[in-house]
């Protein structure tokens, strides 16, 4: 079912058609993961009343995303590569186990999602990151993203050195060589802002032929009091850019990327769906109501990541809007679920 859905043109399926197919695929995946992972089966038994046939996507059991930090969940015994979240220091990162089949799916999904934006042939690729991020040992979501983009980008150049400082000579060499035709710039949102944007003055560098693709969350940029709109406007003004695409994805469901459409909302790929849930009772929210984002995806087969409750807040703004020719759910992300600190008897106040 994954293959069937990923092969359709992105966002070309009406929500109701998509749901029927997704449900079938999700039921199959529920059974697959239940049989392949004992810990997962126990969670389904003890937290969800046991495995059954599900009548709607909203009934599919979900796992909270941070569970992948606490447990190593794998559906299968074969050799697997480990993908880690780019965790903050001191915190255990999420660990995701990817076998060749799921890895191939991730590639397929990436290609399908970005082909409409980047075209069918490879174009020159400037990564706003350092080469170190693609080292196979200790691979994080950021590194996997750059590696994934290499499917679209030939001859990748890395704009940052190992210390994550801008190497202007690399950028200038790249621009001089390739700026006559379309090229790809890809990086973490925060790096695009703090490294690329902040290293140049307005008009100093002409990137009018670039397609900028960025992801990684707005939190750090917003902490500098720059909104999504201001970010886009600033980049366009400074570099004469015309195409900037943000996408939402997370390592626990690597490959399921929600890409920005013409209306600046994020669209669900064919093989995924998004449900917004009210925190507390976890019931599905109404369209237009903000809540916690849950993403279901037919992609993950080597680990039970097919139904994940994230720690992100968002709203479904429309379904089958047709804007920019896109059907399915349009998502807007508002931010992270705030970290909650509890009170209590323990504290450390200096002497």
């Amino acid at each position: 079912m994954f293959d069937r859905l990923v092969n359709e043109r992105p966002y070309s399926l009406k929500q109701s058609d998509k749901e029927a197919m997704l449900l079938e695929g999700l039921n199959e995946l529920m059974e697959h993961h239940y049989r392949a992972s004992e810990p997962y089966a126990r969670i389904v038994d003890k937290g969800w009343g046991g495995l059954r046939r599900y009548d709607s996507i909203a009934d599919i059991p979900f796992l909270p995303v941070s569970l992948f930090k606490a447990l190593e969940l794998r559906s299968g015994a074969g050799p697997m590569a480990t993908l880690k979240s780019s965790g903050t220091t001191g915190q255990t990162p999420s660990r995701i186990f990817v076998d060749p089949e799921t890895s191939a799916r991730q590639s397929k999904a990436l290609v399908a999602s970005f082909r409409p934006i980047l075209g069918a042939s490879r174009i020159p690729f400037l990564a706003i990151d350092s080469q170190d991020v693609t080292r196979p040992t200790d691979l994080t979501a950021r590194g996997a993203g750059v590696l994934g983009m290499m499917k679209f980008g030939a001859r990748p150049a890395f704009a940052l050195n190992s210390a994550l400082d801008v190497d202007k000579s690399v950028i200038e060499t790249f621009i001089n060589k390739f700026s006559g035709k379309p090229f790809l710039i890809f990086g973490f949102t925060f790096l695009v802002w703090t490294k690329l944007y902040k290293s140049y003055a307005d008009g100093e560098l002409d990137l009018s032929n670039a397609v900028v693709v960025h992801s990684g969350g707005w939190k750090k940029v917003e902490s500098e009091r720059v909104s999504h709109e201001e970010f886009n406007a600033a980049l366009k003004r400074r570099f004469n850019l015309r195409s900037i695409y943000n996408f939402y994805g997370f390592v626990e469901q690597m490959g399921s990327m929600f890409i920005e459409g013409d209306d600046s909302y994020l669209y669900a790929p064919n093989f995924t769906d998004v449900i917004i849930r009210r925190p507390g009772d976890w019931e599905p929210a109404e369209i237009g109501e903000e809540g916690v984002i849950q993403v279901v995806s037919l992609l993950p087969r080597s680990y039970p990541g097919h139904s994940v409750l994230t720690e992100d807040l968002g709203t479904i703004l429309s379904v089958d809007s047709g804007v920019g020719g896109r059907l399915g759910k349009a998502l807007k992300i508002s931010g992270r679920v705030p970290k909650a600190e509890l009170r209590g008897c323990s504290d450390v106040i200096g002497a």
Binding site: A70, G280, W282, L309, R343
Partner: protein
């Protein structure tokens, strides 16, 4: 130089130099009172009356509890029982200057710590965090007004930055020191000397649990279950279940097959019906609880979990072992044990309060005897976990904060 701000009546804060503070502390040592001296008792009772009649504002439960705890009859009983505990031929005296370091986040503790020490005649220096809630400030200010009217400068509530070394300077002038706030804080003060040796009272990390008689629970009427649920809700959700005496585990003495339905009904009642407005703990914490519960569910040792709605998250164990996590904010491990004696190997190193329901007095006394080697220092009925007691963590606080004089 770091600023010292001393609370004054009318919600004001007065800056003080170190030298001025040291002078004031020394002067205060010369103006101690006798334990339970009339004027101090009157001050405490007057404030209690004001709080109990509302003082013109809606006061939260824990303030009302303090007011109830310090009402005339209660203080009179504190005084008479203190006198009864004195060895024959002795008299009690205040220790001198007592330095209080209450926990950052369980606000009411500073009041109890201070009021007991005040009643037994000490001068007191209480370090408060930079911000305290409006309700706590109101109570403190009621006292400050009366102390100011009486021309009594011996009680100091102050604020200073953690970066300063004032803790050491004040300790140096203090005859006793009460440190609340867990092991890390205790460790900070462990090496800090008091005046001439001095007396330290320490409150380190503690955990607590509840034990319920399964048969008694199953026999309750719907009204009885609702009442019990209300009391358990109080114990669990006050201070977000992060107080030392907040129960994190519920042991059920009985038979799983026979009593599980009644236990689940009780838990549902606590979660769904008792929680006002259903809001409670923040979404981020509900998710943290969910992760802990799902993690527990992935292991054999867990029987079932309840995680929806998110107010109360429970992990019911297969046997008696629990998840061992302290999550707080409404996270409860539940385990069945065949009898009270089975609790002995399960009591943890730092367990403090055991709340109980459905047992006879003798059974609890037997349990206390059985657990004589454990750290447990309090057995109390469900619903009273967070109620303060002058005997706390094994200390008889009025006695810790006084000294005895043998008159022969």
């Amino acid at each position: 130089m770091s600023a010292i701000l001393i609370d004054a009546p009318g919600g004001k804060k007065v800056a003080s130099s170190r030298e001025a503070l040291a002078d004031r502390i020394r002067e205060a040592r010369g103006r101690l009172a006798l334990p339970f001296e009339r004027s101090r008792v009157d001050t405490v009772v007057a404030v209690s009356e004001l709080l109990l009649t509302g003082g013109g504002r809606a006061l939260p439960g824990f303030v009302k509890h303090f007011a109830f705890w310090t009402r005339k009859a209660a203080v009179a009983r504190l005084a008479s029982e203190f006198a009864k505990r004195l060895p024959g031929g002795t008299a009690a005296r205040a220790r001198g200057v007592v330095f209080h370091l209450p926990p950052q986040n369980v606000e009411t503790v500073f009041l109890y710590s201070w009021v007991l020490s005040y009643l037994v005649g000490n001068a007191n220096v209480v370090r408060l965090p930079r911000e305290i809630s409006a309700e706590m400030a109101f109570v403190r200010d009621c006292f400050l007004e009366r102390l100011d009217e009486a021309g009594d400068p011996t009680q100091m509530f102050l604020h200073y930055s953690s970066a300063s070394d004032l803790g050491a300077a004040i300790s140096n002038e203090s005859d006793a020191r009460v440190v609340w706030g867990g092991d890390a804080k205790v460790a900070l003060f462990a090496g800090v000397p008091l005046r001439e040796g001095g007396k330290s009272v320490w409150f380190g990390d503690r955990t607590s649990f509840a034990v319920v008689n399964g048969a008694a629970l199953a026999a309750q009427s719907a009204g009885g279950v609702r009442d019990l649920a209300k009391r358990m809700h109080n114990d669990i959700f006050t201070f977000d279940q992060m107080g030392c005496s907040s129960p994190q585990i519920l042991y059920v003495v009985g038979d799983r097959a026979a009593h599980l339905p009644a236990v689940r009904a009780l838990l549902r009642e606590i979660a769904e019906n008792v929680l006002p407005g259903g809001a409670g703990v923040a979404a981020g914490h509900i998710m943290r609880k969910m992760v802990a519960a799902f993690e527990a569910a992935s292991h054999d040792a867990t029987s079932t979990i309840e995680w929806r709605p998110g107010a109360l998250t429970t992990v019911i164990a297969e046997g008696a072992a629990q998840s061992g996590k302290r999550i707080g904010g409404g996270f409860l491990d539940v385990a069945f044990v065949p009898d009270l004696a089975a609790l002995r190997p399960l009591v943890r190193e730092r367990d403090q309060t055991v709340t109980h329901f459905g047992f006879a007095v003798e059974e609890i006394r037997s349990l206390a005897d059985l657990l004589f080697r454990s750290s447990v220092s309090r057995f109390a009925p469900v619903g009273t976990a967070l109620d303060f007691d002058f005997v706390w963590d094994g200390y008889d606080l009025p006695f810790e904060l006084t000294r005895l004089v043998r008159i022969g």
